[in-house]
Chain length 220, copies 2
């Protein structure tokens, strides 16, 4: 499903070039679950953004379903992202002025559902993450872990084939974190490919595979 060949990403800070990823090779099968672990600053979020079509590599090839994404224009990429991929950001990226349910419903913007159906579907996923009663809270009226769970619900609402979750339990107590992991495991049971960044070795034990990143390289 996902094939990365020689993926490199260089950032420029002023005149200085920084190689965040240095020739990453990776194959991920459909329906597989993968953990990405590694120290702070090693390149995990950068890798997730490239897999999630949010960023282009500086070098290398990314084949999604056998097609090289370098050949897609940005409209095609946006459509692919909206239809195939659910992304939970490390810093959530909720819309500030919007309520919890409006945030969850956002990926449904291009679907053929009417507003009533969108709200119903958003409510279903808010309920799944334990936040039904907080549906009308604005983003800034939520606790840190509640924002994280809204971001998780949003990543599921459009029935993606691939879920990318960047440290999805970082702001959650162990009981709530466990509920989230069970939801992600359920998604995998239904054939969805789940890729997690985590700092918790207990979490990485529960996925099919784990890769470790160090200074932009996958290490054994």
């Amino acid at each position: 499903l996902i094939e990365l060949e020689g993926i490199s990403k260089t950032y420029k800070t002023g005149k200085i070039s920084f190689e965040a990823l240095r020739g990453v090779d990776l194959k991920i099968e459909k329906g597989e679950s993968l953990s990405i672990i590694g120290p702070s600053g090693s390149g995990k979020s950068t890798l997730m953004h490239i897999i999630g079509l949010l960023d282009k590599p500086t070098k290398g090839n990314y084949l999604l379903d056998g097609k090289n994404i370098n050949r897609h224009n940005s409209n095609k990429l946006a459509v692919l992202r909206n239809q195939k991929i659910g992304f939970v950001f490390q810093s959530f990226h909720l819309l500030q002025g919007s309520t919890a349910w409006e945030n969850v419903a956002l990926p449904l913007a291009y679907s053929r559902k009417n507003n009533k159906q969108k709200k119903e579907k958003a409510m279903k996923y808010l309920d799944l993450v334990g936040l039904k009663r907080w549906a009308s809270h604005k983003s800034n009226e939520l606790s840190g872990g509640q924002m994280q769970r809204v971001a998780i619900a949003r990543s599921l609402v459009n029935d993606p084939e691939i879920i990318l979750a960047d440290e999805p339990t970082g702001n959650l107590d162990s009981k709530t974190g466990e509920e989230i992991l069970k939801i992600l495991e359920e998604q995998k049971q239904r054939g969805i490919t789940v890729i997690l960044v985590t700092h918790d070795p207990e979490i990485s034990k529960r996925t099919d595979k784990t890769i470790k990143i160090l200074d932009g390289n996958i290490v054994k």
Copy 2:
């Protein structure tokens, strides 16, 4: 040093009132370290904001150094906050357009240091958290864990008497997280009062005391 008596906090969402804190009593001695644990949404960050003078309680009394903070006007509170308290926010709150060192230097705005001295002091604390080489990166050119460490450095730079850290290792791998905990333990050795919110029971074992919050109440 810190005395909370009957502290309550009510939020209004539309017409609905929500009691985030319900009559909290708490005494914290100078130089003590305290962990606050509890489920997502239980009121930990709300309590931290009140202790940190960022928010006023709806009911109850807060005595800081024996003085009731209800009697202070907002200028006095701002001065107290700047001088006595270092706060690490759960969502970091870094200034977007500014570099790492500028963010760390922010609390020095009212000190009598000149710009060269401010930058030197900021660099010293960035080095302490392992980010000397990232000093000129803008906030959005940092990884999640790097942002968290900039927020931690910022909380220390003005030599506060009280450090409030809301989940300071949530975005850090265990090795980097351990370095941060050692820094906080060093601060406590020097007589500084350290209050942490954490979801990690291993971390709460290392502080003098732990309190658990459930639905806005401290429970045994």
